[in-house]
């Protein structure tokens, strides 16, 4: 009875996995296989939610230790508040995306879907296992299974070359990241001669240099999965390649497992030095700004959303950095605000990024293209999609009264609190956070007004967007649920923040009662924010009423858009996404390095001109490609060894013999 609730969790995970297996077995009957897979995923996730919520609210730990016969391994799973929080995100989004996917996959005609369903379920279960596994070996195994499963999902449409390419890039990136993790775990194990997490946590007085090495390793290793700049190169490739519900899951929660890893490692390493906080904040700021800038320059809607994941991961990392600084400087409120903002933003990002990807999915399946500039005016035929997408867009820009604002509000408040201490280092980090958050906010707004305005408003720009129809209910309901959740957290933030108490206290290493006493004023403020939000709604309602009254007497007429006297207005004359973003893109051209192909129109009766712009990934072109090119070059230098000449081969043997003798027998 004692292990009751984690057993439930394991049953749930097994159910998910089992559903995948079944769907693989029934691969001939498409409908059936989708049905069993989805059922498994949903029911398993619901089962898994039970212990997660219990632990998250009541604190404490649920753990299960079974000896395992592989070296250093133990089947040691443990749900504590941190795991519980991540489980919450994972399972909620899994349920949503599974339901959505069960309809969305049918878009793929004549393709065996069983594989997709199977790996989808494997992905869910492995993610769940990753966040609960409390043994290095188990963690690594689940981690890699997660990578492989997501790799197969990314390469689902492997008949396209770019999809294969994306898959390879993703696989290599994640594998290199894992290499760092191997070393990190081994070093931790070296200090505690065991790979169990509780032993790690028991390490005290770790030599600070070793601690820093471990931290750096974890930052690189997990940062690769999380998509921190410059290790994010796989992200904008993989997300567009995958089916939309998979992108939603990957971007919503899978990359968060990287953040989970960083948090977990931070709990192993007590009293972090200040520069860790600095590092986190700077990395976060860079990721945020770079991410949103590149997002601004994209034309592919899913690629754009992928870059926004980079941005949000940056915001989350800044929050973590703030928390670390708080711990270091012994100011509890700072730590609480930093970590609280970070994890709340994790949840929020899971919600609205999931929502946006699902919306993008329904747009893509309706219009059949991901090119923003080809779309336009979809809002008229796809009302639900457009409204939910709008909610997601407002939320991701951190605009009140939605959830994105709340988490940024916490981080802002924290950094201001750090600022008014007037201690130079605290103030400095705070300034970095404030400045970059503000810039990110402005740019994100520019970016999402662009997306929403160009895709859903105005007139159709191409025949793709002409007569689209709304997706089926199975795809719409999940989006509506997510949108509702966004609104809920935005309006009842004070409740939500109280749910996260346990988690925050565990991350920050502060007692729960202290945390709640610190959170109390905060939640009062949040109540005021909610109040303001309600005022806003009231005002809107009143004004609507007033306008109704005004117009009741007057006549309302419909006319074509005022086109400043042009003879033949035409949908092609509308502003496109690229023209909308062009001023900002030009302002930051030295970072973006956008490539333009222009063929200006000449003379009085011009022949058609053309304009193309593309913004490839800078850190790939200018950082990684050169590195790999050098490696390949150096290794290529040695290719003469196998020259095919037998005499030479035997000479090698003789030389080796002589060399070894000289080396060892002198």
């Amino acid at each position: 009875m004692f292990y009751y609730s984690i057993k439930i969790f394991l049953v749930g995970v097994f159910l998910i996995f089992f559903g995948g297996i079944l769907s693989l077995l029934f691969w001939r009957k498409q409908k059936l296989s989708i049905l069993v897979g989805t059922l498994g995923a949903v029911s398993g996730s619901i089962l898994g939610l039970i212990p997660a919520i219990k632990v998250l609210l009541s604190g404490g730990k649920e753990s299960l230790y079974i000896a395992w016969s592989i070296p250093f391994g133990a089947f040691f799973v443990e749900i504590d508040a941190i795991s519980a929080f991540f489980l919450l995100c994972i399972f909620i989004l899994s349920i949503i995306t599974a339901i959505y996917g069960s309809r969305y996959l049918l878009e793929y005609k004549n393709k065996s879907l069983a594989k997709a369903i199977f790996f989808f379920n494997v992905l869910i279960s492995s993610m769940a296992m990753v966040v609960v596994s409390a043994n290095g070996m188990l963690f690594l195994i689940c981690w890699e299974i997660m990578s492989i499963a997501s790799f197969f999902l990314v390469t689902f449409e492997d008949e396209h070359k770019h999809v294969r390419q994306a898959g390879i890039v993703y696989l290599i990136a994640t594998h290199i990241g894992t290499a760092f993790l191997l070393v990190m775990f081994i070093l931790l194990g070296r200090e505690s001669n065991s790979l169990d997490f509780d032993k790690f946590a028991a390490i005290k007085l770790l030599p600070s240099s070793m601690a820093s090495i471990i931290f750096i390793l974890s930052l690189v290793g997990f940062g690769t999965k999380a998509g921190l700049v410059p290790f994010h190169i796989w992200l904008p490739e993989a997300h567009p390649a995958a089916p939309s519900h998979v992108s939603a899951l990957m971007s919503g929660v899978m990359i968060k497992t990287g953040i989970y890893g960083i948090i977990r490692v931070l709990t192993f390493l007590p009293n972090p030095p200040l520069w860790w906080g600095w590092l986190l904040i700077i990395v976060g700021a860079v990721s945020g700004v770079i991410g949103v800038l590149f997002a601004l320059a994209q034309h592919d809607i899913k690629r754009l959303l992928a870059y926004h994941s980079v941005e949000n991961i940056g915001i989350i990392t800044m929050g973590l950095g703030l928390g670390v600084v708080g711990i270091n400087s012994g100011s509890q409120i700072l730590a609480i605000l930093g970590f609280g903002g970070a994890i709340l933003h994790i949840l929020n990002h899971a919600l609205f990024k999931g929502l946006l990807f699902l919306g993008a999915g329904s747009v893509v399946s309706a219009a059949g293209t991901r090119e923003i500039d080809e779309l336009g005016g979809l809002g008229k035929n796809m009302f639900v999609t457009s409204v939910t997408f709008l909610i997601g867009a407002v939320a991701i820009c951190g605009i009140p009264p939605l959830n994105g604002f709340i988490s940024e509000f916490l981080i802002y408040t924290g950094s201001f609190k750090g600022l008014i201490t007037k201690q130079l280092d605290l103030a400095a980090v705070s300034i970095i956070i404030i400045g970059s958050l503000a810039l990110i906010g402005g740019l994100a707004l520019a970016c999402f007004t662009k997306v929403y305005g160009i895709v859903f408003l105005g007139e159709p720009r191409s025949k793709h967007a002409m007569n689209v129809q709304e997706s089926s209910m199975i795809m719409l309901v999940p989006m509506i649920i997510l949108a509702a959740l966004c609104v809920f957290i935005g309006l009842f933030s004070s409740i939500t923040i109280n749910w996260l108490k346990q988690c925050i206290s565990q991350i920050a290493g502060i007692g729960p009662d202290v945390v709640s006493s610190q959170i109390l004023p905060l939640s009062n403020i949040l109540i005021k924010v909610s109040f303001a939000a309600f005022c806003l709604f009231a005002a809107i309602a009143i004004l609507l009423f007033i306008r109704k009254k005004m117009l009741s007497a007057e006549k309302v007429s419909i006319a074509p858009t005022w086109d400043c006297g042009y003879a033949k207005p035409d949908a092609r004359m509308q502003y496109t996404a690229s023209s909308f973003a062009q001023p900002l893109v030009d302002t930051f051209k030295m970072i973006l390095r956008t490539r333009k192909i222009t063929e200006p129109i000449k003379d009085l009766f011009p022949v058609e001109g053309q304009f193309e712009s593309s913004t490839p990934e800078v850190s790939r072109d200018y950082l990684f490609n050169p590195i790999f090119r050098v490696i390949y070059l150096l290794l290529g230098r040695l290719r003469w060894l196998q020259g095919g000449n037998i005499q030479l081969y035997i000479l090698y043997i003789a030389l080796t013999l002589i060399a070894l003798i000289i080396w060892k027998l002198r």
């Binding site: 016969s69 299974i145 594998h175 070296r190 060894l641 081969y649 090698y652 070894l660």
Partner: protein, 491 residues
């Protein structure tokens, strides 16, 4: 019992040489493999008595190698039957150049396979360094005709190189044995015989300098056979030109046999307190092997050569593990098993691919999942396993070795090891995974459908075993490996 183990395949070989009837030969091959396997398995429960005052005996490491060999041969034997049925016709058109060639007569082929099994068994059983040498030379000679199965100039060239290089190497190993004899005779008052057990027992009286020389020579000599760079040069040629079933045997079983020779010498060295000396040598050669493998694996155009080079790499890993000593030996031994199973499976699958696509160029192979789904799945699993992805066993063994290396503070070695592993992975990922994806060219689909039962079951079983080893290692097996570590002073 032990003699039976050697003579069953031997007699079967002789019979199949004389017999006129093909199906009888297949029968012989199958039965010999099965009997051999059963006997080997029985040894796990009833340890056989040593013979000829310990000249032939079965110790732990020998049993490990023997079991791997026997198991692989079982799989390869049945695969070979289906393979030979495919290769029936007299005149074959070569798919690389337009030349017509014929195959070596089936009788000779099967006979040599069985002889190879016999000699490998002999090696695994022999406790005397002289015998070990003889046995290893025998494996070379019996496997040479197998490589020359397709009678065209490329396989001929491969065979010639294999023969020449390995013979030279083994001759050097002979010199090493003589040095060992010197070391044994000049040390104490009465000369110690060249029995492994005796040498280990009286290791402290051996003459250190000669022992060192002996180890170097034996390392280079048997290292040639084992495929350690830069003596590995015969390996890619032989593996790429031999029939896939033979490649799987060579790579999975024969390399281990050569390793056995090195292991026994290493055993003596550690007993004589030369552990670090020998370890350094092993690590150096191991790293060089991994480097060379990495050089050729990235941008490799021929998937069989790719697998061959990966064998070089993994032999390097095994050597490094052995050289690091202590906990790493466990990983090394585990890796020996994992690599044998995985590589054998991969070569068998490569044979299937070759049979369908009629090309060894990776660029010409696409969309395996659409053409040969089962083989494609096995191939993918094998690739993931050979590059050390969990949940496959290779991950655990490689991880163990890395862990031991870092915990011993050998940061350079561990770092180089890790980097090379990653580079090799990149090579594999970029080249081999692509083969399974995409959609095939026209004309291939038709060939696809008839895929023989026997040609997928053995590799499937091997992959399954690897998967099991990655998730669960039976405690008996674990203790067994630990005992092997004890042999070289590990823990």
């Amino acid at each position: 019992m032990l003699l039976a183990l050697i003579f069953i395949p031997f007699l079967a070989g002789v019979l199949s040489l004389v017999s006129r009837n093909a199906s009888l030969r297949y029968f012989l091959l199958g039965t010999a493999a099965v009997l051999h396997f059963i006997l080997t398995c029985s040894f796990w429960f009833f340890p056989p008595a040593a013979l000829f005052n310990n000249w032939l005996g079965l110790d732990r490491i020998g049993q490990l190698i023997l079991s791997i060999t026997s198991g692989l041969f079982l799989g390869a034997g049945f695969y070979a039957i289906s393979y030979l049925k495919n290769e029936k016709h007299q005149q074959i058109k070569d798919f690389q150049e337009d030349i017509i060639f014929s195959n070596v007569p089936e009788a000779i082929f099967i006979c040599c396979m069985l002889f190879l099994l016999a000699s490998m068994t002999f090696l695994a059983l022999s406790q005397h360094f002289g015998l070990i040498w003889v046995a290893i030379e025998l494996t070379t000679l019996t496997s040479a005709p197998l490589i020359y199965f397709h009678r065209h100039h490329r396989s001929l060239e491969a065979t010639w190189k294999y023969l020449m290089i390995c013979s030279v190497g083994i001759a050097i190993a002979l010199l090493g044995n003589f040095f060992l004899a010197v070391a044994a005779s000049t040390g104490g008052e009465k000369p110690v015989s060249l029995l492994a057990g005796e040498l280990v027992k009286y290791a402290n009286v051996l003459n250190v300098k000669w022992l060192k020389a002996a180890f170097i020579f034996i390392l280079v000599g048997y290292g040639t056979k084992m495929g350690l760079a830069p003596m590995h040069t015969w390996l890619p040629d032989a593996h790429s030109e031999a029939p896939s079933v033979i490649s799987s045997l060579l790579s999975g079983a024969m390399l281990n046999c050569a390793f056995l020779g090195i292991f026994r010498t290493f055993q003596v060295c550690t007993a004589a307190g030369l552990g670090d000396f020998a370890g350094d040598l092993l690590i150096a050669l191991g790293l060089v092997s991994m480097l060379v493998a990495a050089v050729y694996i990235i941008r490799q155009a021929d998937y069989k050569r790719m697998l061959a080079y990966s064998s070089v790499e993994h032999m390097g890993i095994v050597a490094i593990g052995l050289g690091l000593g202590k906990a790493a030996v466990f990983g090394s031994m585990l890796h020996l098993v994992n690599h044998s199973l995985t590589k054998a499976a991969l070569f068998l699958v490569a044979g299937n691919i070759l049979a369908v696509y009629k090309t060894k160029r990776t660029n010409d192979v696409q969309g395996m999942f659409k053409v040969i789904p089962i083989s494609a799945f096995l191939w993918l699993a094998g690739i993931l396993s050979i590059t050390g992805f969990p949940p496959f066993g290779t991950f655990i063994s490689e991880f163990t070795i890395l862990k031991a290396g870092i915990e011993q503070g050998r940061f350079f070695v561990s770092g180089a090891y890790l980097v090379l592993l990653v580079i090799v992975f990149i090579g594999f990922a970029t080249i081999c995974i692509r083969m399974t994806q995409g959609s095939p060219e026209q004309g291939i689909e038709k060939v696809a459908l008839k895929q023989r039962f026997l040609s997928v079951v053995p590799p499937a079983i091997m992959i399954l075993l690897i998967l099991v080893l990655g998730l669960f290692i039976p405690s008996t097996f674990r203790n067994f490996l630990h005992d092997i570590c004890m042999l070289v002073g590990g823990n």
